[in-house]
């Protein structure tokens, strides 16, 4: 690639990107949850409190940007024993690390599937995490669904004796469903 064309490409990109991505506000019925495995049985959890800053361009996904902050103490799994244990130091350690954060660094396409690449910071540990993104336009906005699978031990969630994956599975499926409204 010659120098002028590289410059032109970069210029075109720099000019084009901000122009396409639309900012959205996130509706109250949005959910952010996970499915994990305990003693061979799946259970669902969700975070009642999180903030998401979403800019998305369905035509040019590479111009999009997610920045999500999750209040880890708001976790709820439908079982009081578990909900008491999860904020503790062996799991989310919310006293030291009250929030988790996910920010995208780029978007790409794998066939028809849009993939967001980014970094998740959880319990003070930063690791790259990619999300499968499904964007469905709706009246006045869109529904944005994201999904991925994490390994809880990558983030030290369930440390010490709880690291036993024969009782608590290592893989955790994460799913989000955001109801987006276009910002004026």
């Amino acid at each position: 690639m010659t120098r002028p064309s590289t410059l032109a490409f970069l210029l075109a990109g720099a000019l084009a990107l901000p122009a396409f991505a639309a900012d959205y506000s996130v509706g109250a019925n949005s959910t952010l949850g996970f499915t994990a495995d305990f003693q061979g049985e799946k259970f669902n959890g969700s975070f009642r409190s999180f903030e998401a800053v979403i800019a998305y361009d369905a035509e040019h996904p590479e111009a999009s940007k997610f920045d999500v902050t999750i209040d880890l103490a708001s976790v709820a799994t439908g079982d009081s024993d578990r909900d008491d244990a999860l904020p503790g130091s062996e799991f989310f350690a919310v006293k030291q690390h009250p929030k988790a954060r996910y920010t995208t660094s780029g978007f790409r396409k794998d066939g028809d599937q849009v993939i967001a690449d980014g970094t998740l910071t959880l319990k003070g540990i930063r690791k790259p995490v990619s999300l499968r993104v499904t964007f469905t336009p709706a009246a006045g906005g869109a529904v944005l669904e994201v999904a991925t699978t994490l390994k809880r031990l990558d983030f030290d969630v369930g440390s010490g004796e709880y690291a036993d994956t024969s009782t608590i599975g290592n893989e955790v499926a994460v799913n989000g469903r955001l109801e987006l409204t276009a910002k004026e």
Binding site: Q39, G40, E41, A85, T167
Partner: protein, 191 residues
């Protein structure tokens, strides 16, 4: 030793089921008493998991035992006063009921509380009912009360067997022991 029971002795199958279940019931009972007082942690989670796994095993063996009973003959009652015989059979009947009811009440509690049920980390069993706190409280109360009734009935069962063995000096216990010889083999039969 024959698999099937005969007129005098319990067969290997009946003996095996009896002693395996005795071991399981004592193990699950002791673990059950210890585990509830444990501090929260993996050891407690594992203790509950093993308690449930043993309980399920006892339940499965009970079904097997009941089925086997229909194929197998029972040794004849040894000579004893009528009231004693009625008491012994009543104790056996109650034990059979409890061996079924206690694991089932535990399973019911586990289901109503929404806990998973796994057999020695090998496979999972379904919930008997949907999550229901009121039912869970009833089921755990039944599980615990029936257990204490079991303890009382076992005192009668074991006490009766020991009385027969040491005081009546008959073969009541010996014919259920794995390798013991009978004290009073019928004439003409090798012990």
């Amino acid at each position: 030793m024959a698999w099937r029971s005969d007129r005098l002795r319990w067969g290997a199958a009946a003996k095996g089921l009896h002693w395996l279940m005795a071991l399981g019931i004592i193990g699950a009972g002791v673990l059950g008493l210890v585990m509830t007082g444990m501090d929260r942690g993996m050891a407690k989670i594992n203790a509950f998991a093993i308690h449930k796994s043993i309980g399920l095993t006892v339940l499965a063996l009970f079904v097997l035992r009941l089925a086997w009973r229909f194929f197998d003959r029972r040794p004849a009652d040894l000579p004893m006063p009528r009231l004693q015989r009625i008491a012994a059979h009543a104790v056996h009947g109650i034990l059979y009921l409890l061996m079924l009811a206690i694991p089932l009440a535990g399973w019911l509690y586990n289901s109503a509380r929404g806990y998973p049920l796994q057999w020695f980390k090998q496979f999972n069993l379904p919930a008997l009912v949907a999550k229901n706190e009121g039912l869970a409280e009833f089921a755990i109360a039944a599980h615990v009360w029936l257990f204490w009734i079991l303890v009382a009935v076992l005192v009668a069962h074991v006490g009766g067997a020991l009385l027969h063995h040491f005081f009546e000096r008959d073969d009541t216990l010996r014919r259920m022991l794995p390798f013991a010889r009978l004290r009073h083999p019928p004439s003409g039969e090798s012990p």
